[in-house]
Every structure is written in structure tokens, then in C-alpha cells.
């Protein structure tokens, strides 16, 4: 029996509040979808409607006709997926050490990780640009991936450290008592319990890289390398003037990969977030 029994009206209120919150969250996306399917004349209507009166795919046709969206999406996908995989591969062992080995050094490292999140982009971009230039990584997706990994690493590390701490050390000690080696413990005991956290962290790194604009704008110089967020700004003019229909269509398509990835693994993320919540 639940410890939190609510009355009918209270439950109805909870659902109403939840619904209102969901509507609030979904509003920009739904408006984007609606705009993407509206003909030009409806975009300028004084009384806009949620459902386009005369829905059209013209905005999508124009968007693909005017900009190389597929190529840009491919570049984004490569950069985001690679950055997510590398970030997780690098952050996982580091997080394990930070969580399991308590010392002044690890405390200082954790503090630095948190502080490093406070640096603004603009402060970092010029030194980063010079470093990448010396490495001959300007205008390469590899250079962009390296930046994304470095950029997402602190938060990934911070997230994963929390997940590692949620895995009881007693389980590892019990496995050690049963004769398992360090690697066996990591692979067979800690790994599976950590999997939801790793997936959640990878998702975070993926979405961060997928949506990132400024580094991609500055580091990629040729059209063939540009990522989706950079190409989306080609629908914008000076002082915020926009080619609204094609922009909405392209932006709608740009949100789909994140939504799909999130939908596929959201159950694992929920599991990961709750892992260790009850001891």
C-alpha cells in the first residue's frame, strides 16, 4: 500500500498541474511543428492557428533546396556521436577513480571540474583556436570532436562520479572476497550497475554536441564541413530577420535525432537516475 495516498480532487489537481507543465514545455516544439507546415501567407496571419489551414511541405522543399541539410546533419551526427563515445570512454575510468579513491588530489580535481564549468565560451575560444591550429585541426571534424569532448568532459565526469558513488562499494568488496580480480569486478559487477549512468552521460554529451553552434561556426571554414546548427543560421538575416518557414522546417528536422535518441533510451536514463536512490 502506498505511503502517499491522495484524495480524488488532489490527484486531479496534480494531473492538471502536470498537464500544464507539459504543455508549457512542449509549446515551443509544437509551435515549431505547426510553423513548419504553414504556407507563407499563414505565417503572416494576425490570428495564427495551431493547425495549419492549408498545410504544405513547401517549407521543407525550400529548406532542402536552399541549404545542404543532409550533409550538415551527417557532419553533426558524426561529431556528436563520436564526441559522446569518446567522452564516455574517457570519463568513465576517471569518474571511477574520483569516486573510489578519496584523497586531496581527487577532491581538488573534483573542485576543478566544477569550476571549469564556469568559463565562458568566448574566454576559451581564441586559445583553443590557436592550439587546434598548431595541431592542424582547424576546419576538421576531428578538431571539433576534440573540442566537444573537452567541453563535455567536466560535466560528464561530474555526472558519472555520482553514478559510481551510487554503486555500493560493498558489492565490489564482496566480489573481491569471492576471488574476482579488479577487471572482473569492473566488468561484471560495477559495469552493469553503471550502464544506465553511462547511457545518460552519453546522451548528455550527444545532445550538447548536436546543438552546439559557436565552436562549429568558428572552427569549420568550408561549407562541406559545416554542422546543422551553423547551416540553420543561414536562414537568418541581419537584425533577426528570418526566412521563417524553411527555418522552422529545418529546425524541426534538426530536433528529430535528439528526440529519437531520447525516446529510445529514456527508460534506461530513468533507471540510471534512480539507481542508488534507495539503499
Amino acid at each position: 500500500m502506498s505511503a502517499f495516498r491522495t484524495s480524488g480532487p488532489a490527484r486531479a489537481g496534480q494531473y492538471a498541474a502536470l498537464l500544464a507543465y507539459l504543455v508549457f514545455l512542449a509549446f515551443p516544439f509544437l509551435w515549431l511543428v505547426s510553423t513548419a507546415f504553414k504556407p507563407a501567407a499563414e505565417l503572416g496571419s494576425l490570428h495564427p492557428t495551431w493547425i495549419p489551414k492549408d498545410p504544405t511541405l513547401e517549407n521543407f522543399r525550400q529548406a532542402f533546396d536552399e541549404q545542404p541539410l543532409l550533409r550538415a546533419a551527417g557532419n553533426s551526427l558524426f561529431a556528436a556521436l563520436t564526441a559522446a563515445l569518446v567522452a564516455v570512454a574517457v570519463a568513465t575510468p576517471m569518474a571511477y577513480v574520483l569516486a573510489r579513491r578519496r584523497s586531496r588530489l581527487t577532491a581538488a580535481a573534483t573542485g576543478w571540474v566544477v569550476v571549469s564549468q564556469a568559463f565562458p565560451f568566448v574566454l576559451l575560444i581564441i586559445p583553443l583556436f590557436l592550439i587546434l591550429k598548431n595541431l592542424h585541426l582547424i576546419n576538421t571534424l576531428g578538431g571539433l570532436v576534440a573540442v566537444y569532448v573537452v567541453w563535455s568532459l567536466p560535466f560528464a565526469l561530474w555526472m558519472l562520479t555520482g553514478y559510481v558513488r551510487a554503486v555500493p562499494a560493498e558489492l565490489e568488496e564482496a566480489a573481491a572476497v569471492d576471488g574476482a580480480g579488479r577487471l572482473r569486478i569492473l566488468v561484471s559487477v560495477t559495469g552493469p550497475l553503471l550502464a544506465p549512468g553511462i547511457v545518460a552521460t552519453a546522451l548528455f554529451a550527444f545532445i550538447t554536441a548536436w546543438n552546439e553552434f559557436f565552436f562549429a561556426l568558428v572552427l569549420l571554414k568550408t561549407p562541406e564541413k559545416q554542422t546543422l546548427p551553423v547551416v540553420l543560421t543561414h536562414f537568418l538575416g541581419a537584425e533577426g530577420v528570418a526566412d521563417l518557414g524553411p527555418l522552422a522546417a529545418a529546425a524541426f528536422l534538426a530536433t528529430l535525432p535528439s528526440l529519437v535518441v531520447f525516446a529510445v533510451i529514456q527508460r534506461r536514463i530513468t533507471g540510471g537516475m534512480l539507481a542508488g536512490a534507495v539503499k
Binding site: 569518446v86 570512454a89 583556436f129 576531428g142 578538431g143 561549407p223 537568418l236 537584425e239 530577420v241 521563417l244
Partner: protein
């Protein structure tokens, strides 16, 4: 543990290989092994017709000049300043740079942009009026070619104006600011409740107030004999802000709701007959053509005039050459090709703007009454550099002092005296910091 180390090493090796595999050379402004010079042209053209025109011209150049090839790169107005700054600092700037003249001061004074005086052809120098060259002159050098410009015009609902029987202004006989206010009162009275003669989109109140202020004789920025700039708020400076404030606050002929809006935000109300007139940049005509409902009858009117006639300030679009480019002569030759009169007309039509080139501006295609081209072309002759064009410290004055002051003034929160005090006293303190010897 050894296997863990091996695993970490493998991951690192994969990472290095991945980075190496993705590496590509080829920066702009370099001569390849085949002796061909490759120039990188960062263009901010964004409307389809404009991008097409740029690409076609680049293709024509490349076909005619196999030894000097231009790579067209479409940039973005969003963050272009930071993008360029990073590229300049990193030594990876494009050879040819498209920007707006009001964004060039920092780059020009920073030594990032080449002085074009020894590079430009006499034809190009002579074809662009001196006042346009002033928008790209910083110190002793010219650091960009001003090639397209955009006056602020009044987009009007022809049906409402004709039915009201008001005098339709022309570039030869524009409205005075007082007449504009009077016409707005007539129109609002006829249009009925909830409708307004004018919607002022004042998301960027400083450029509107200063640039249109020239028509009333406003200057605000005064260069003294010692070369330093000071702010003075004189009678001419008060006309445009005073008129807008009175229309919103006293006459109720301008919508208060649009004060915080951008130009695009006012278009639905314009199409729906809620506003009879909207002062907008000339290029907004493209959005009106695209989005207006069938049968919507509109026209382009010149802005009101005062002691300064139809003068107004503009910050033209510019083309510059990076100082670090090793092939400035080739880049200048391309600029000369791109900005031939006929080519400039194509660029102007693509951007729905007006050329600075005298020859291009005289082209009959820009004098058709269709979509207000003729009205715009007539106003173009009166365009002048934006008042604060090359004043160091202007961006800070604009962001920290003028924008909040104008926003509060137009909303009615502060009065004339407080506006004057803030713009001048606070403003001069900002400018003084930039003008210390």
C-alpha cells in the same frame, strides 16, 4: 590492471587516428602546388536570390580566372563579429570579408583589415560617393567597400490611406514630421478601436532614433576641433524621439505593444489592417511579398523629412580584404569584378537593397514603381553615414546608456530632461574613457 592500461592506450590510439584521419589542409589565400591562388570569400548573403547571385558571380570569376580561384563560404550574420575576431586572432581569416560598416571599426583600428586605397581601381573609387566611403574610413585608411545600403522606409496599407484621403508623400514632397503626426491622428480616428496608424518596431531604438534623426537635423555626436567626439542633445535631436513618444503616449496613434518588437513581428498586424503604416528597412519588402495575403495592397513611402530633408543614417554592407591575406591584389581584382555596376545590380536585387554605386543605382531596373524600388532609389541619394559610425566607444554607449534610456523614454517611464541627461552626461563619461590620450 595491465589489461585496463592496454584498453586505455587503445582508446587513445583510436582517438589520435580519428583526429588525424579527419585532418584536412587547405586554408584560403594560399598558392597551391599547381600555382593556383585560392581565395576564401566569406559572404553573409542569406536570401536565396542573393546567395544565387553571389554564387553565379563567383562561378563566372572562376571560369574566367583559372589561376585565381575563389571559394565561396556562406557565413551568418549571427555571431559574425566573434567569428571574425577569432579568425583574425588565430591567423586564419578569410581573404575576402562581407560585413556591415558599423562592425568594422574594431577590426580596422586593430590592424586586421587591409587599407584598400592602393588596391582599389579608380573606376570603383569614383563610382561610390564620398559620403559612402566615409562609412568605411577609419583613421587614414579605407577598410571596406560599401556596396549595399538600406534606408528605413514606411510600408503603408494603400487602401487605408487612400480611403482616408490623406496626402500620399513622395520623395520630392515628403511629409514633415508634424504632418506625419497629423496624418496618423486622422488615420487612427478612422480606423477604429484597437487599430493604430503606426506600429514602431523599436527593439533597436538607438539606430532608429539616431538614423532617422538626421532628417530633422539631429546629430548628437559632434567631432570637435581636437578630433575628440562629444555628445550634445540639440533641438534637432529631439524631433524624432519626441514625435514617436507623442504618437505612443499623447496621440495614441502608435501601438505601445510593438515598442519592444522586431520588424517581422509587426507584419501580421500590418497585413491584418491593425496598423496602417510600419517604418521598416527597405529589404523587408521581400517578407511582405512572400507573406502578405492575396490582394493585400501596399506601397512604400519615403520617411518624413525635416530640417535635414530626407537624409538618414545608414551602415552599408561592406566587402573588405584581410590584412594577413598574402594575395591582396588578386582579392582586390575579384572585388572589382564582383562590384561592376551590372553585378552590383544583381546583388542589390537579390538582397532587396540599394547599391551605393552611382552607376548601378541609375540602372532602370531599380527605378520601377513595382515594390517601391523607385521610391527607395530616390531616397538612396540622401543617405549618409550613421551618426556614430566611427566613434570609438559607441557600442558601449549604445548598449549601456542609450538603449535603456530610449526604451524607458518611449515607454513613458522617463521624460525629455532625463533622456537628455542620460544620453549626454552618462554618454560623455563613456566616450571620455575611449578618448584619453
Amino acid at each position: 590492471m595491465r589489461r585496463l592500461t592496454t584498453l586505455a592506450g587503445a582508446v587513445a590510439a583510436v582517438l589520435v587516428l580519428l583526429l588525424a584521419g579527419c585532418t584536412a589542409g587547405g586554408t584560403g589565400g594560399e598558392r597551391g602546388a599547381d600555382g593556383v591562388v585560392r581565395l576564401r570569400f566569406l559572404s553573409l548573403a542569406w536570401q536565396k536570390e542573393s546567395v544565387d547571385a553571389n554564387r553565379e558571380l563567383v562561378a563566372e570569376w572562376n571560369a574566367a580566372h583559372p589561376r585565381v580561384q575563389v571559394d565561396y563560404v556562406q557565413g551568418s550574420w549571427d555571431s559574425v563579429h566573434d567569428q571574425l575576431l577569432t579568425s583574425f586572432e588565430g591567423g586564419e581569416a578569410p581573404d575576402l570579408i562581407h560585413d556591415a560598416s558599423d562592425d568594422l571599426a574594431d577590426f580596422a583600428y586593430g590592424g586586421y583589415l587591409a587599407d584598400l586605397r592602393p588596391l582599389l581601381s579608380e573606376r570603383l573609387r569614383a563610382d561610390i560617393p564620398a559620403h559612402s566611403w566615409r562609412t568605411t574610413t577609419f583613421g587614414d585608411g579605407i577598410h571596406g567597400v560599401p556596396f549595399l545600403q538600406e534606408p528605413r522606409m514606411i510600408m503603408a496599407n494603400r487602401k487605408i490611406l487612400v480611403e482616408a484621403g490623406v496626402r500620399i508623400p513622395t520623395p520630392e514632397k515628403p511629409w514633415s514630421w508634424e504632418e506625419f503626426r497629423s496624418v496618423a491622428r486622422d488615420l487612427t480616428a478612422r480606423m477604429g478601436r484597437g487599430r493604430y496608424a503606426v506600429a514602431w518596431p523599436l527593439k533597436e531604438p538607438v539606430s532608429v532614433s539616431l538614423n532617422l534623426g538626421l532628417s530633422a537635423g539631429g546629430r548628437l555626436f559632434h567631432r570637435e576641433a581636437d578630433g575628440k567626439v562629444t555628445l550634445r542633445f540639440e533641438d534637432g535631436d529631439a524631433v524624432v524621439p519626441g514625435t514617436i513618444r507623442a504618437m505612443v503616449d499623447t496621440d495614441r496613434t502608435a501601438s505601445r505593444a510593438t515598442l519592444g518588437s522586431g520588424g517581422s513581428d509587426t507584419l501580421p498586424g500590418f497585413f491584418g489592417g491593425k496598423y496602417a503604416m510600419v517604418p521598416l528597412g527597405f529589404s523587408y519588402r521581400q517578407q511582405i511579398v512572400q507573406q502578405a495575403p492575396k490582394g493585400f495592397d501596399w506601397m512604400v513611402l519615403p520617411p518624413p523629412a525635416g530640417a535635414g530633408g530626407l537624409a538618414q543614417g545608414v551602415s552599408p554592407q561592406t566587402l573588405s580584404i584581410a590584412e594577413e591575406s598574402p594575395h591582396k591584389k588578386e582579392a582586390a581584382a575579384f572585388l572589382d569584378f564582383l562590384l561592376q555596376p551590372q553585378a552590383t545590380v544583381r546583388l542589390a536585387l537579390g538582397d532587396w537593397m540599394l547599391p551605393t554605386s552611382t552607376t548601378a543605382l541609375a540602372d532602370p531596373v531599380l527605378h520601377t514603381p513595382r515594390f517601391g524600388w523607385a521610391t527607395g532609389a530616390a531616397v538612396a541619394r540622401q543617405l549618409r553615414p550613421a551618426p556614430a559610425q566611427s566613434v570609438r566607444g559607441y557600442p558601449e554607449w549604445k548598449d549601456k546608456v542609450a538603449t535603456p534610456a530610449f526604451q524607458e523614454y518611449y515607454s513613458g517611464a522617463i521624460g525629455d530632461e532625463e533622456l537628455r541627461r542620460r544620453l549626454v552626461e552618462d554618454g560623455n563619461r563613456v566616450l571620455a574613457r575611449y578618448q584619453r590620450d
